[in-house]
């Protein structure tokens, strides 16, 4: 009896510590806002589902591994005299086939999902909606975000007002070291690189303020380089656009140069935009010395040329 009790000490301490950690985790996560898991848009919503799906799938392997580890460690411990010792059992075609087979099956399923979601959630894929898509050009600066709405004739700094339920088509570049545009509540991040014109399509399915970040280090102001997406109803958004056009200063080359100079600046600002070629100029700034014909492809629909990986 006494030896039995001794043998239980280890597992009991282990389980005790484990449950304390679980409790600590539960306590810590009370009332927290998980942008990735509580999405505000369709893309992020699908990604949340994908997250839950993959967690369930990998649990099929992780849970048996943990269970076997615990049982084998307990049962075949030297101290447990009841455990059978069979040093000749070192190979089994059946067993080994099973544990090649199970992961192959799981990864097979995952591969199908990977192919499907790589296409369905491709950042470049346009979102189909009854609402007309709004184009937004994103410029990552040191250390602020400039958003240009070429068709609406406005621009904004560190704030991204959008109407809800309306597809937003982003063109993303940088006039700074490599940065990355990410609004977790809406989904998918994409790198912002100078001389490049990357694309991203997102949509907000509810109103609210969603925080956005740069996920790639780009100098000392990196942590402060945040922005806020304002998802408003159509009316409020339209009002913001007309108010901005009327009352806010023009953004021209001179003002742009000022913004592009490195500085920490979290202020949310808005500008009237007359020069719709601003974004194209920023992208092309880095393309001047490129060998002829290298990646610089004119796109008729936007009336500008931009390099980029498509």
């Amino acid at each position: 009896m006494k030896t039995m009790n001794r043998r239980l000490i280890g597992p009991v301490i282990g389980i005790g510590i484990a449950s304390m950690l679980v409790y600590l985790g539960w306590w810590l996560l009370q009332g927290k806002q998980f942008d990735v898991l509580a999405p505000g848009g369709d893309i992020a919503d699908q990604q949340r589902n994908l997250f839950i799906f993959t967690v369930s799938l990998i649990s099929l392997v992780v849970v048996p591994v943990f269970v076997m580890l615990g049982i084998f460690a307990w049962k075949y411990s030297e101290k447990n005299k009841k455990g059978k010792y069979d040093p000749s059992f070192t190979h089994s075609v059946v067993l080994e086939s099973i544990w090649w087979g199970i992961p192959i099956a799981i990864i097979g399923v995952l591969s199908v999902v990977t192919i499907q979601t790589s296409h369905s959630l491709d950042p470049y894929k346009k979102i189909i909606s009854e609402q007309e898509t709004i184009n937004v050009q994103v410029v990552a600066l040191q250390w602020k975000w400039l958003f240009i709405y070429p068709e609406l004739g406005v621009a904004s700094l560190n704030q991204l007002p959008i109407p809800e339920d309306t597809p937003i088509s982003f063109k993303i570049t940088a006039d700074a070291p490599m940065s990355s545009f990410w609004v977790p509540a809406l989904g998918s991040q994409v790198y912002a690189m100078n001389g490049m014109n990357s694309q991203l399509n997102l949509i907000a399915s509810k109103q609210g303020d969603f925080k956005g970040y740069s996920t790639n280090i780009n100098g000392v102001g990196y942590s402060d380089m945040t922005m806020v997406v304002h998802s408003w109803d159509k009316k409020r958004f339209d009002a913001w656009v007309s108010d901005t056009k009327l009352n806010k200063p023009d953004i021209d080359t001179e003002l742009y140069e000022e913004l592009a100079a490195p500085s920490k600046n979290n202020q949310e600002l808005a500008y009237n935009l007359n020069d719709v070629s601003l974004y194209g100029e920023i992208v092309n700034k880095y393309m001047t010395n490129s060998p002829a014909g290298n990646e610089s492809v004119p796109h008729k629909d936007e009336g500008m040329s931009h390099g980029g990986m498509q």
């Binding site: 510590i17 806002q33 460690a73 030297e78 040093p87 000392v220």
Partner: protein, 653 residues
């Protein structure tokens, strides 16, 4: 340009550190070095050090030096961790943290660089040096002098990365230093150059080691040891060396191009000049991803030896273990793009690399099941190496699982470059790599020194690391999902702070684990007489346990003849004697030239960093002259006659 400018390059007093944390380190480190030098002088150990270690070509001694450097660097890298997590625990919601943003970025860059290149790689090469020749029944590595050069290049890189603290500052561009941030435009100072030349010099050392151990395994195995009779550890090293030989030249070339961009204003990676930073990202990960497997595969090998030894059962599914290793070797070269799914490649490209990444989980999973079934129907002795193994299975499985999740590109879009990613790779690198090498150190320690390490403190260290790990990194998974990106030195959302504080507490628990380990080594050395053991303290299976502890410098007096997998176990079971015969053996003489070459290489790097072109020229000439000197020397070996050997063994020749 006047003579003075020519002589001092771009050195100037402004490059001395100005913030208190760095000043403290910049004063403390040289004092520590002076203290050690004083002790060596006081105990009159300089000659001993020179003869027994610095000039030694004995793989075991070189291995010990690797491990000592790696453990010291672990403490340095951990000091960086403390600063990082102290900062994120405090700097919430406008609160000022203990260090400024620039220092913080240098600290995490140094943390990553040091932990990968000087801790993980150092422990890896250390243990390979210590154990591999013994495991395959070899007297030495194929090229003992090259081995010394490799180690000293590693040491030279280590000195450069630490010297940056004292003078010049380090890169603030992250451990893989993406341009344009690390280009001349955004980082004109010497920091990035320190980073570049640290990696360049240590990287060349790694490449040479890779070649050395590949040839050692191919050419120096004991007679009878076919490839399929090699211990799994030897297989894992063989696969790793293939990866090293293929991947490290890519690193060398990539860093060289970035250096050319920086020093000569070339445009490999600057888009204004027609270069392309995305090319850099591809190249660095073409090295970087295999590098992860370079680190982890030898650890897998160590776990395989340890589980078999302590379960008293041969490794389960030997052939599938080997097949899995080879599978991982091939796959590790076709997954690099998963490090930048979000760079805008097309859906099919992303899907391809995503699936290849997920496929790696198959052989890795198979290995885990094989380890578990080695335990099944074994008789497991839970000595401290097994504790590390248990912690490894728990931690690494979680890390592998989150890795599979992130292999799905559409999901990676939401967690890439966040704290989720940080938690994932620490899960695999600490759980897989670091735990494995700690297990290996405990396991082979008696073979090198003739006494074991204190068991209780070893177990305490493993338990503290495991609990500390959970506290330090599980909160980061949650933070990533809340929107916390990696490498931030401050944040505005106050609800993140409790999680960062728990993470900082976890770091301190890990610190206690490191302290337990240091204490373990100190206590064991102090009471070494109590822990003295014979040749086979763990009732081992492989050849290293057939020789006395500490292993003689020639490893095997009689070259073993191998007929079985786990030859030593077989001999013990069947009461068989080694069938080999005593012969004269040839051993390499000591040489200081490896040490000198590395000094010259270090000065070469220092010269480029500070634009001291006269020093670069001199160091370059010195390296060439030293290498030629070595090649002209025909008197590099000596013979131990069989009479001497017989005398040492106490038997008749």
């Amino acid at each position: 340009m006047n003579v003075f400018d020519f002589l001092i390059g771009r050195m100037s007093p402004e490059y001395f550190p100005s913030d208190p944390a760095t000043i403290g380190a910049a004063i403390g480190m040289p004092l520590g070095v002076l203290g050690i030098a004083a002790l060596l002088t006081y105990f009159k150990k300089w000659k001993w050090l020179w003869r027994e270690y610095i000039t030694s070509l004995d793989a075991k001694k070189i291995g010990v030096m690797y491990i000592v450097v790696a453990l010291v660097m672990l403490i340095r890298g951990f000091a960086d961790t403390l600063m990082i997590r102290a900062q994120t625990a405090i700097a919430a919601n406008g609160q000022q943290g203990p260090i400024d943003a620039d220092t913080f970025q240098q600290v995490f860059t140094a943390h990553g660089t040091i932990m990968i290149f000087f801790v993980a790689m150092g422990l890896m090469f250390g243990l390979i040096n210590v154990a591999l020749p013994l495991l395959i029944g070899a007297r030495d590595v194929a090229f003992p002098f090259l081995n010394s050069v490799s180690f000293w290049l590693f040491a030279a890189g280590m000195i450069l990365v630490n010297f940056a603290l004292i003078f010049g500052g380090f890169s603030a561009g992250g451990w893989l230093g993406y341009p344009p941030l690390t280009g001349l435009e955004y980082s004109p100072g010497p920091g990035v150059d320190y980073w570049l030349w640290t990696l360049q010099i240590a990287g060349v050392g790694s490449l040479l080691s890779g070649i050395n151990f590949f040839v050692t395994i191919i050419k120096c195995r004991a007679p009878g040891m076919t490839l399929m009779k090699m211990p799994i550890f030897a297989w894992s090293v063989l696969v790793t060396t293939v990866l090293i030989m293929l991947a490290f030249p890519v690193l060398t070339a990539t860093l060289a191009m970035l250096s050319l961009d920086r020093v000569f204003d070339m445009h490999f990676f600057t888009s204004t000049g027609g270069g392309n930073p995305m090319l850099y990202v591809n190249l660095i990960w073409a090295w970087g991803h295999p590098e992860v497997y370079i680190l982890v595969l030898p650890a897998f090998g160590i776990y395989s030896e340890i589980v078999a030894t302590f379960a008293r059962k041969a490794i389960f599914g030997y052939k599938t273990m080997v097949a899995a290793l080879i599978g991982i070797m091939f796959l590790s070269f076709i997954v690099w793009q998963h490090h930048f799914f979000t760079m805008g490649a097309g859906a099919n490209v992303n899907a391809f690399f995503g699936i290849m990444t997920a496929i790696i989980a198959i052989p890795t999973g198979v290995k885990i099941f094989n380890w578990l079934f080695t335990m099944y129907r074994g008789r497991i002795l839970f000595a401290s190496p097994m504790w590390w193994f248990m912690a490894f299975v728990v931690t690494f499985t979680i890390g592998g699982a989150t890795g599979v999740m992130m292999s799905v590109p559409a999901l990676d879009f939401q967690v890439h470059n966040t704290m989720f990613l940080v938690a994932h790779f620490h899960n695999v690198i600490i759980g897989g790599v670091i735990f494995g090498y700690f297990a290996g150190i405990t396991y082979w320690f008696p073979k090198i020194f003739g006494f074991t390490l204190h068991e209780g403190l070893g177990k305490a260290s493993a338990a503290l690391w495991q609990i500390g790990f959970i506290l330090a990194f599980l909160p980061l998974y949650a933070l990533g999902l809340m929107g916390a990106v990696r490498r931030i030195d401050s944040y505005t959302d106050p609800s993140w702070q409790p999680l960062f504080i728990v993470s900082a507490i976890g770091v301190m628990v890990i610190g206690a684990g490191i302290f337990a380990m240091v204490l373990q080594i100190a206590v064991s050395i102090k009471n070494r007489k109590k822990y003295v053991v014979g040749g086979d303290p763990w009732n081992g299976r492989t050849l290293e346990w057939s020789v006395p502890s500490p292993a003689p410098h020639y490893n095997f007096a009689i070259t073993p003849i191998v007929e079985h997998q786990d030859q030593w176990w077989y001999e013990k079971e069947h009461r068989q004697k080694n069938k080999g015969v005593l012969t004269d053996i040839e051993m390499p003489k000591n040489s200081p030239l490896g040490f000198y070459i590395a000094i010259a290489a270090g000065l070469f790097g220092f010269g480029v960093i500070w634009h001291l072109w006269w020093l670069v020229g001199l160091a370059f000439v010195a390296i060439i002259v030293l290498v030629i000197t070595r090649t002209m020397n025909d008197d590099t070996t000596y013979v131990i006659t069989k009479e001497v050997l017989a005398d040492e063994m106490g038997v008749a020749a």
